[in-house]
């Protein structure tokens, strides 16, 4: 197990290095921060001064060398926008995104597993059709549009929930609800399909013959065996959430990693972009490891 984790870590580290090089040079293509940060009538001398101050005047390869050297000492550089260490800015944003992702994901998983299993149990029935239609609509709706409609209905017309920002628990309701929809639509379909094939297995017939009730058959006997493909999809969705919900965070003014990412890209805050990408990659690596461990727990055959 330790050896496997080690091998995976090395492979991930290599692709992370490649990604870092690519992002470093490509992001430099998007323009000069000096133009963006200084007033429009700034003189050339002021711009040169700004570049020298932030080490942007050196040749590109020298800048890269310096960046890697600092990185080896765990220094991710300064944020241009906030004049603080880039890694602090990123971690602060993560402290918002992580709970958002975890709460949403747990709700999605519970709801999708319960509803998907029940739908598969009576295939073609009324409940099954309702779940299918809802999940399909959920998977088809663009999240920015759902977010806007939700703001109009619940914040502007009904006045129940705040439009944006963070602070009270009520601020979390709309972002979670909007983020919930698409992953729920996807996962519920996978649960349904997977349960469908698991329910036709011989051990289900045995259990029925022994007089086991319906609900224990679904949730005790079958579910565990139907979980493997579900775990894979959950992993994909969790990775997407760890990347931050750019759209939803932007609309609801939620100070998470997705909003930080788009703001930093648009404002050429290169150090923050790089730090955010690297921290996200580490988070996704850890999550993939957890997923693999979950596989092993669910199915003893995979343990080796």
């Amino acid at each position: 197990m330790i050896k496997l984790i080690g091998q995976r870590a090395i492979a991930s580290l290599l692709s992370l290095l490649g990604l870092m090089v690519l992002v470093f040079f490509l992001s430099r293509l998007t323009g000069d921060p000096a133009v963006l940060f200084l007033p429009i009538d700034a003189t050339e001398a002021m711009k040169a001064n700004f570049r020298a101050l932030h080490g942007l005047d050196a040749p590109l390869f020298e800048q890269f060398g310096r960046y890697v050297w600092d990185l080896l000492q765990f220094d991710f550089g300064q944020s241009l926008r906030k004049a603080r260490p880039a890694i602090d800015v990123v971690m602060e944003a993560y402290a918002w995104t992580l709970p958002l992702a975890l709460i949403t994901l747990s709700l999605v998983v519970v709801a999708a597993i319960v509803l998907g299993s029940l739908a598969a149990f009576k295939i073609g029935g009324f409940f099954d059709r309702m779940v299918s239609i809802i999940s399909l609509i959920g998977a088809s709706a663009p999240d920015f549009w759902v977010a806007i409609v939700a703001i109009v209905v619940f914040s502007i017309n009904l006045g129940w929930l705040p439009t944006s920002g963070v602070g009270t628990p009520l601020h979390w309701v709309l972002p979670i609800a909007v983020l919930f929809i698409r992953p729920f639509g996807l996962i519920v379909q996978v649960v349904r399909g997977s349960m469908l094939s698991a329910l036709s297995a011989a051990y289900v017939k045995t259990a029925r013959a022994k007089g086991v009730k319906n609900l224990p058959i679904i949730f005790v006997h079958t579910l565990r065996n139907a979980m493997l493909p579900v775990i894979t999809v959950i992993g994909d969705q969790a990775a997407a959430m760890l990347n931050g919900a750019v759209i939803v965070e932007t609309i609801f003014g939620f100070p998470g990693i997705g909003k930080l990412m788009i703001d930093s890209i648009l404002q050429r805050d290169f150090n923050v972009v790089l730090a955010a990408i690297m921290v996200t990659a580490v988070a996704i690596f850890i999550m993939n490891m957890l997923i693999d461990i979950a596989y092993g727990l669910l199915d003893p055959r995979i343990r080796h």
């Binding site: 692709s15 088809s140 920015f144 806007i148 502007i156 750019v246 759209i247």
Partner: protein, 308 residues
């Protein structure tokens, strides 16, 4: 696609095949309606700009944000007017073109490049395969937002560049699927038979492997079309996608956002268009998964209309 080019339109067997196909579509009512909706959208995209192009850009400041369902201003204002008094309905129809063009262009490019690389990766030796797969890994982990900004800034905002950005991010999907299928197909007996008979690599790939892989790819492409549409509208919404005066449904939602409290219809209708189109694509893709799979096709063929 090669299997389509082999058939001629006057071939009776093809015509019968087409009728069977339509009959199979008719059996699944939801898929049939979806197909009709999609045909309508494509028609709007093809002829809409020619018919309504002037109407859609004709500003009328006295009709600013005029409310929907009011027939006094003419049919074009049935869905209301936008912030410059341009008729919403006409604008929606005109916007269908760039929305469809971006999605179709991106899906077609990603499909062709991805499938070709996937065929090569699956069929050729381990080294080439490894190199191609690592490329896919890097593309998948590269943040697509950054890619969009880089392309937008370096090459300038335009529809072809938007297609480029979206196509690059979608290539890995086709690449991985094709490779996985090819790895399995090339071990089958008929491929070995072709090798024994001395067929060239190109012939084996095009005539023996590709037709087996194609149905899966077409199904994924339909599903992906919906995804690309959503991605394009998200980017346009964030302001790093299509730029005015070009217009897509996603951009229209974003332009309507400042008027949410006073004129909700500006953001609502384009969103409804997106939802309906993606829903139709999803339903059609569900049907295709069954119709193109020889092992499951009987569900649509040999079923009387009464039993379910």
């Amino acid at each position: 696609m090669s299997d389509l080019s082999l058939t001629k339109p006057n071939n009776p067997a093809t015509q019968r095949g087409f009728t069977i196909f339509l009959a199979m579509l008719w059996r699944d009512k939801l898929a049939f309606i979806s197909a009709l909706v999609l045909v309508l959208v494509v028609l709007c995209a093809l002829v809409g700009p020619a018919l309504l192009g002037d109407l859609a850009t004709n500003q009328n400041l006295r009709g600013r944000n005029s409310p929907p369902f009011d027939m006094t201003r003419g049919w074009a204002f049935f869905l209301g007017g936008d912030s410059l008094g341009r008729p919403m309905l006409a604008r929606l129809i005109v916007a269908a073109r760039s929305t469809m063009m971006v999605a179709a262009g991106a899906v077609a490019t990603a499909l062709i490049v991805g499938a070709t690389l996937g065929l090569v990766a699956g069929y050729m030796g381990k080294n080439i395969s490894q190199a191609i797969m690592r490329l896919a890994d890097v593309i998948m982990s590269f943040p697509s937002l950054l890619l969009a900004v880089v392309v937008l800034y370096v090459l300038g905002p335009s529809i072809p560049n938007m297609i480029l950005v979206l196509a690059i991010t979608r290539i890995p999907i086709y690449l991985r699927t094709t490779r996985a299928e090819v790895l399995e197909v090339r071990e089958r007996m008929f491929v070995q038979a072709a090798v024994v008979m001395g067929a060239s690599h190109g012939r084996i790939i095009v005539r023996h492997v590709l037709p087996v892989v194609a149905p899966t790819l077409v199904t994924i492409a339909t599903l992906d079309f919906a995804f690309v549409m959503l991605a394009e509208s998200s980017l346009s919404f964030l302001g790093i996608g299509i730029q005015p005066p070009d217009i897509t449904w996603g951009l229209m939602v974003s332009q309507g956002r400042p008027y949410l409290t006073t004129a909700w219809w500006l953001a609502l209708w384009p969103g409804v268009c997106i939802v309906i189109t993606t829903l139709a694509l999803n339903l059609l893709s569900n049907w295709m998964r069954i119709a193109l799979d020889p092992a499951q096709r009987w569900r649509l063929e040999a079923r009387s209309t009464t039993d379910v």
